[in-house]
Amino acid sequence: MFAEKVIELLKESERNPDTIDQFNDDKIRQILEEMDLLFKMNMNDANATTENRSLWTTVQVRHSALERNKRCLLAYLCSRMNKIKTLRWEFGSILPADIRELLSDEEYEWFSKYSTNLASYMRSLGQDIGYSGIDLTENLKPPKSLYIEVLCVLDYGKLELEDGDVIMLKKNSRHFLPTSECQTLIRQGVLKQIT
């Protein structure tokens, strides 16, 4: 049957809508091979239709299969692209190594370009009224208080605050920090707010 491999591919990525999977190079190659084969068979039969009109229907069936494969592949790439976009907002501009290796080279290039675009857009914001840009990835929820108490979830290392103080973020240590300085770390899962 046509276009079965590509469905496997989509089901795989649909199973984990909230995380990104390894880019499935191997399966994509197989699908492209299937499409190539279909195309060649179609070329042959299309040339033969002058003698045998009934072959035309066969060509149409294969053509539908080709279009289907194309649609599925594009959908796969598009859904991954949306996930990569989310990665930029949630993990920040530098991806952890274990996520980096899940992307293909082209996807990583796209990520870098998106990241640069977003950064230059955020820098350009509010320049006409004297600000030097706004970080849109901050304050996704309205801030309730200036300082919050946080628990460190993993060994992160040193963090330099805006006033020049340097604090050591060690696992299971508690800190009382300005909300503006730790909310990015909370989103990245380094700190956890204690309420």
């Binding site: 469905i7 039969d45 289907r68 649609r71 929820k141 989103r187 990245q188």
Partner: protein, 194 residues
């Protein structure tokens, strides 16, 4: 509608479901579509279950290469069951994509009763879903849901939880981003498997 877009994975999975069809023309070299056929060509008049996407595309050719028949859940006998009480039907088993698929096959139903059944079923089942999600303990006691109903039920549950939290505390604490949290959970699961 969002879920009929070209790039929607949801719609692709819906159109992967099979529908019974009758072939109106000979298809040379397409005998492999019919697993019970021994010949190389597919003869006109063959009845076969083919994926909806293929059926749609062959049906839209001029002249149509096939005629599409209704899958069994949209037939008279099942319509009667759904009309009697749609809430007792195991939707997951009968039609994982009951509504979405119904929208596609409704145009092949000459009498036009399928669309009425779809509306009616949705009305009955949505009421059940709604009352179950506000009381938040009875979702598991419901009949297995179709795919889109599952999404609705999950959305209802999250909203309900968020509302309860907000009412209790009047604020929402900062949390780790969705993908970050899920990535970590998954990594932990992989570690435990090793």
């Amino acid at each position: 509608m969002e879920n009929t877009s070209y790039l929607s994975i949801q719609d692709i999975l819906v159109t992967n479901e099979k529908v019974p069809c009758k072939f109106l023309h000979d298809l040379p070299k397409m005998g492999f579509l019919d697993p019970s056929a021994t010949e190389e060509d597919l003869k006109a008049g063959t009845h076969l279950d083919i994926p909806l996407w293929l059926a749609e595309s062959l049906y839209s050719r001029r002249p149509p290469l096939i005629s599409v028949e209704l899958p069994k859940i949209y037939k008279e006998s099942y319509r009667e069951i759904l009309g009697a009480d749609a809430c007792t039907v195991d939707m997951h088993k009968l039609g994982k994509y009951f509504y979405e698929m119904g929208c596609y096959v409704a145009k092949h139903d000459i009498k036009g009763e399928v669309s009425a059944t779809l509306m009616n079923t949705f009305r009955q089942r949505f009421r059940m879903l709604l009352s179950a999600s506000v009381s938040n303990d009875s979702i598991s006691s419901m009949q297995p849901l179709s795919e889109s109903e599952r999404v609705q039920a999950a959305a209802a549950a999250t909203t309900e939880r968020a509302l309860a939290m907000w009412l209790q505390r009047g604020e929402s604490p900062l949390t780790a981003a969705n993908m970050v949290a899920n990535h970590r959970k998954r990594k932990r699961a992989e570690m435990e498997m090793l």
